[in-house]
């Protein structure tokens, strides 16, 4: 690991100023990805900017009308333990408890998981499925970016120099909602998704009112399969419907062959995981309604 300087700003404006004036600077939230990358020299920088001390990045707030505002640097353990998130966004609570072990969850954040921009990021399909929007601040005006539009390539995203991801805004789930994330890993823990599926559904008397489906590890970025969710809208809750949506997810996948699996195997997993995740989300939605 090379030497680097360290800054710990206390406000969004201060952080944005430092990041704008040091184009090579890298923001650090939990550091669970970044420090490993610096140690293995996958990334190098002269300046690390710790954003954990900025209040807005550490807040969780809930409003029945606006939904959930989740600070980008909130560590996973707070998310998985949060009663509102556990009730209203169960897939988000699940994924916060899935990433890493207890020590990692004490540091790792959902904002960091997104900004690391790995195709395999477990939290990102969930954020997409839940319709999350990124609140971005920078030297200019603040802006909003839908999570599915945030990543542009492996390790690349839309933030401009000086811009900082402050929080996520998640819409309220509405009645009859259920969400689920399912990843496939060869082991039962400590692994990177070979493929993953995050789904959110709302039910309406035996029919699917709406659905959003997103996939991990099967494209250069986390993949929003909008057509699969749209196809499901209005369909009865039947195995054929789910299988057809799963097949759309399989067709949307653009995986590669690597040490974690072949492209053919990953496409196959997309269908299996999407179907299983839909079944689990629907089960949750039914429990929510009953």
């Amino acid at each position: 690991m090379k030497w680097f300087d360290y800054a710990a700003p206390r406000t969004v404006a201060e952080a944005a100023g430092i990041l704008a004036s040091h184009p090579g600077a890298l923001p650090l939230a939990g550091g669970t990805d970044l420090l490993g990358q610096l140690r293995s020299r996958v990334r190098e920088t002269d300046l690390v900017v710790d954003v954990k001390r900025i209040p807005e990045l550490n807040e969780i707030s809930w409003d029945a009308a606006r939904g959930l505002t989740l600070g980008a640097a909130v560590p996973c353990y707070r998310i998985s333990a949060h009663p509102v998130i556990r009730r209203a966004y169960p897939a988000l609570a699940d994924v916060a408890a899935l990433i890493g072990g207890v020590q990692i969850q004490g540091r790792a954040s959902i904002g960091g998981n997104l900004c690391n921009a790995a195709p395999s990021a477990d939290a990102v399909p969930v954020l997409i499925a839940l319709g999350a929007v990124c609140l971005v601040s920078g030297p200019g005006a603040s802006r909003e970016v839908r999570v599915e539009n945030f990543c542009t390539a492996p390790r690349r995203h839309v933030l401009e120099p000086g811009e900082i991801l402050v929080a996520f805004q998640l819409p309220p789930p509405g009645p009859g909602a259920g969400s689920y994330y399912l990843r496939f890993i060869p082991r039962n823990e400590m692994d990177i998704a070979v493929a993953g599926a995050g789904v959110a559904v709302t039910l309406d008397d035996g029919h699917i009112r709406s659905a959003r489906i997103a996939l991990a590890s099967v494209a250069p970025t986390p993949l929003f399969v909008e057509e699969a969710g749209e196809w499901l809208a209005g369909k009865p809750v039947e195995p054929q419907s789910l299988a057809a949506a799963a097949d759309l997810a399989r067709k949307a996948a653009r995986p590669i062959t690597d040490m974690r699996g072949t492209a053919e195997y990953r496409r196959h997993l997309c269908a299996v995981l999407t179907r299983r995740a839909l079944e689990a989300a629907i089960k949750r939605a039914k429990e929510e309604r009953s």
Binding site: M1, F184, R187, D191, V194, M259, G261, Y265
Partner: protein, 762 residues
């Protein structure tokens, strides 16, 4: 067994080193510190095979904080010799070549240069400034690649040895040997059923949690002092002295605690490099490997390509067997194919056998020992074929094995005739275990069995025992403590002396303080060092008898010793009472034991595995697992069970996910814990254990080494279980989800087909 005979042997006292281990006070390799210590970093080859045209270290030397830079040019030259590297010998030129590459790099990760600096980060940064001009060469990564006509020649001076003779033929085959017993061709004609299958296994790593770590001071007096984590201080001393061309007297090695070895910490990688850096800088130098260094720069176990052919009569008798075993040696000759050939059919009494072994050099790290080295690959192949024959003959797989089991007097194709062994007893214990008859409910589930053998070694061990005035003793031996050997050795001394285990204070000596002792490996420590401790204790008893005789003014020969009490002519004195009178009777009593047993009894092991296969993902879950092993005599049953569980888990790792995943250019792409995928506790059921005790006839307590045989059966047992769960038999390790899914797809596309990836038919 007669448990009542022993007071200490067979009990479960706490480990002597337990407190230091659980509080973190124990000093492992990387914990060692010296004043003024520098940190070394090794620059490694990015290429699997390349000629080195030029190395320019000037920028690294000029980097602030750098105190020394070395390359192979700093290694001494000396005539070729074979150097004992623990459980075998290797030419000095290969050992030196692996330390720092000379004219060529032979694998990605091959050490090329090293830097010592004021911090590990400065050393790493400076190493990145070393300019190496490579001429990249084509590489050969598997035995099939390397044996092909026109394959890249990896070692230009290598000539193939065949049937013990030098052929003068260049190439990548270092050796081809053959073992013959009876007439295999004839034996196959007697068979009603002949099954021949082809198998492949991946390169896998021992996966010890502690990376290699060493600290070396080349002292101003010319003496080289080493503090390191290894499986044997004397082997480190010998290899380090040979590479540096020093007499062994000039090298002292202090063993630190070891965080796992499994055979992988027998050979040295860092010590001579750190020594050269220390010599140049005048300061002690510590080098600690990263996990990537460990995967890419140390010795994994060979990947293999095997064919097994076996024939049996309808009555269940195996009439003939043939094996083709080609193992990847890595960059230098020495694939563990010879022991593989010793074990491939060892569990069976087969009259007609041919075994061909090939030791093949490839562009991967030079392979090293790994728990029953060479046997696990071979057993995966043999036990899969045995399973298939049993099924085709309609026989229970354990009964079929029992019908053909090796026993006392059975001759192996490689020569030895078995003395008393426990193969039958292990199989009977499997058959009688409730697990074997338990119903297996639910779809996609299957149960598989397999057995395995490891021959174990004896070799040299030294031990001294000093008697304290309160009747306790200090025990010093030369065996690095792996998995509780301090205690298993102390218990044998305690039993002999009539003491409690906690009356013995054991410690592991450095090379200046204790007699020569071979590595902790080959399942030899509880057996051979335990035996040395018994000899040392007997020596203590002999000397103490003389003291008692002196007190009683009688003849030492008339003094008897039993369970801690000396007796003669109606008088008696306890060990403790006599110990208090040593000063008055001639001074301290120090017993010594030095042994070199050659006939260690082998250990058989069996596994019963239940699995469930997810038919949609190909993922295999191990639901239940029972390990059975002949321990001869379990000195400390908990440690025996621990070995059985550890070996089982490693074998399950081989079976399911572990492999060196290589790019076509020879780079290991998964050189991290995350992607190498050893099983974690969440991937495993509780491993049930059954200790079988068929005492070794020569050892004072009947001990058989138990460290290794337990890894041999699991991959085959899991594979046989996967077959029963899915109807699909896999012939390649690992059976990861992709492999299983592809096999299931192939089965779907071939109605009626069940056997896959096999080039030969029954």
């Amino acid at each position: 067994m007669s448990e009542s005979t022993y007071a200490v042997v067979g009990t479960r006292p706490p480990r002597h080193d337990a407190t230091d281990k659980v509080t973190g006070r124990a000093h492992y390799g990387a914990d060692f510190q010296l004043t003024g210590m520098l940190h070394g970093f090794i620059l490694r080859s990015p290429h699997a095979h390349a000629a080195i045209r030029r190395i320019d270290v000037s920028k690294a030397e000029a980097f602030p904080g750098v105190k020394a830079v070395v390359t192979s040019a700093d290694l001494p030259e000396s005539p070729e010799q074979m150097v004992d590297i623990g459980e075998g010998a290797m030419p000095l030129s290969y050992i030196r070549g692996n330390m720092l590459a000379r004219s060529k790099v032979l694998y990605k990760g091959h050490a090329v240069a090293a830097v010592a600096a004021v911090s590990p980060h400065v050393a790493e940064e400076a190493a990145s400034l070393i300019e190496v001009d490579y001429d990249v060469l084509p590489c050969a990564l598997t035995v099939e690649d390397a044996m092909r006509d026109g394959a890249p020649v990896i070692l230009p001076d290598l000539r193939t040895k065949e049937f013990g003779e030098q052929t003068g033929r260049p190439g990548n085959v270092a050796e081809h040997f053959r073992h013959v017993l009876g007439d295999a061709e004839n034996g196959f004609t007697e068979a009603d059923l002949v099954v021949e299958r082809e198998f492949r296994t991946a390169t896998v790593h021992q996966g010890y949690i502690e990376p290699h770590a060493t600290t070396v001071l080349w002292n101003e007096d010319g003496h080289v002092l080493v503090w390191c984590s290894s499986q044997g201080a004397f082997t480190v001393r010998k290899a380090t002295a040979a590479v540096l061309d020093l007499p062994v007297l000039r090298v002292s090695v202090t063993p630190l605690e070891i965080g796992g070895g499994f055979g992988g910490k027998i050979r040295i990688y860092l010590e001579p490099v750190a020594a050269l850096l220390s010599k140049k800088s005048g300061r002690p130098v510590k080098i600690v490997m990263s996990r990537q260094d460990v995967f890419e720069g140390t010795g994994p176990t060979p990947g293999s390509h095997m064919r097994i052919k076996m024939g049996a009569r309808k009555d269940g008798r195996i009439t003939a067997a043939q094996a083709y075993l080609a193992y990847e040696a890595g960059a230098y000759p020495g694939a563990m194919v010879a022991p593989g050939a010793m074990c491939v059919f060892a569990a069976y009494d087969i009259p007609n056998v041919v075994i061909d072994g090939y030791d093949v050099v490839v562009n991967k790290p030079s392979t090293a020992a790994y728990r029953a080295p060479g046997a696990t690959q071979a057993a995966f192949a043999t036990e899969s074929v045995v399973d298939e024959i049993a099924e085709n003959l309609g026989l229970d797989p354990v009964e079929f094995r029992l019908m053909n089991a090796a026993k006392e007097g059975t001759r192996r194709a490689d020569g030895p005739k078995f003395r008393r062994i426990g193969c039958v007893e292990v199989l009977e214990a499997m058959r009688n275990h409730p697990h074997y008859r338990a119903p297996l409910e639910g779809p996609n589930r299957g149960r598989g069995v397999a057995v395995g053998f490891w021959f174990n070694v004896g070799l040299a061990s030294s031990c001294t025992i000093s008697v304290n005035s309160d009747g306790t003793v200090n025990l010093l031996d030369g065996s690095v403590d792996l998995s509780g050997t301090r205690t298993s050795v102390s218990m044998q001394a305690a039993e002999t002396l009539g003491l409690r285990a906690e009356d013995v204070r054991p410690s592991v000596g450095d090379t200046d303080s204790i007699g020569f002792t071979e590595v902790t490996g080959g399942s030899r420590t509880t057996y051979a060092t335990g035996w040395a401790a018994v000899e040392a204790a007997r020596d203590v008893i002999g000397q103490m008898k003389e003291r008692a005789a002196l007190l009683w003014e009688t003849d030492a020969a008339s003094v008897e010793f039993d369970r801690g009490v000396f007796r003669a002519g109606g008088r008696s004195i306890t060990f403790q009472e006599l110990a208090a009178q040593l000063d008055e009777t001639g001074g301290p009593v120090v017993g010594r034991g030095a042994v070199n047993p050659s006939g260690a009894g082998g250990s058989f092991s069996g596994a019963i595995a239940d699995v469930e296969v997810d038919p949609e993902t190909g993922k295999v879950s191990v639901l239940r697992f029972t390990a059975v092993q002949d321990a001869g005599r379990a000195i400390h049953p908990s440690y025996v069970e621990g070995q059985m569980q550890g070996g089982s888990v490693q074998g399950i790792g081989w079976a399911l996910n572990e492999e060196y995943f290589m790019s076509a250019e020879g780079a290991m792409l998964n050189s991290s814990w995350l992607d190498y995928r050893m099983p974690t506790s969440l991937d495993l059921p509780m491993i049930d254990t059954v200790i079988v005790e068929v005492p070794d006839p020569e050892h004072p307590f009947g001990v058989r080494g138990v460290g290794e045989a337990n890894i041999v059966p699991p991959p085959a047992a899991v594979s046989n279980a996967v077959y029963r769960a899915t109807g699909v038999r896999l012939y390649r390790l690992p059976m990861n989800p992709v492999a299983v899914m592809e096999a299931l797809w192939q089965k779907e596309s071939e109605p009626g087909g069940g056997s896959l990836h096999s080039d030969a038919a029954a």
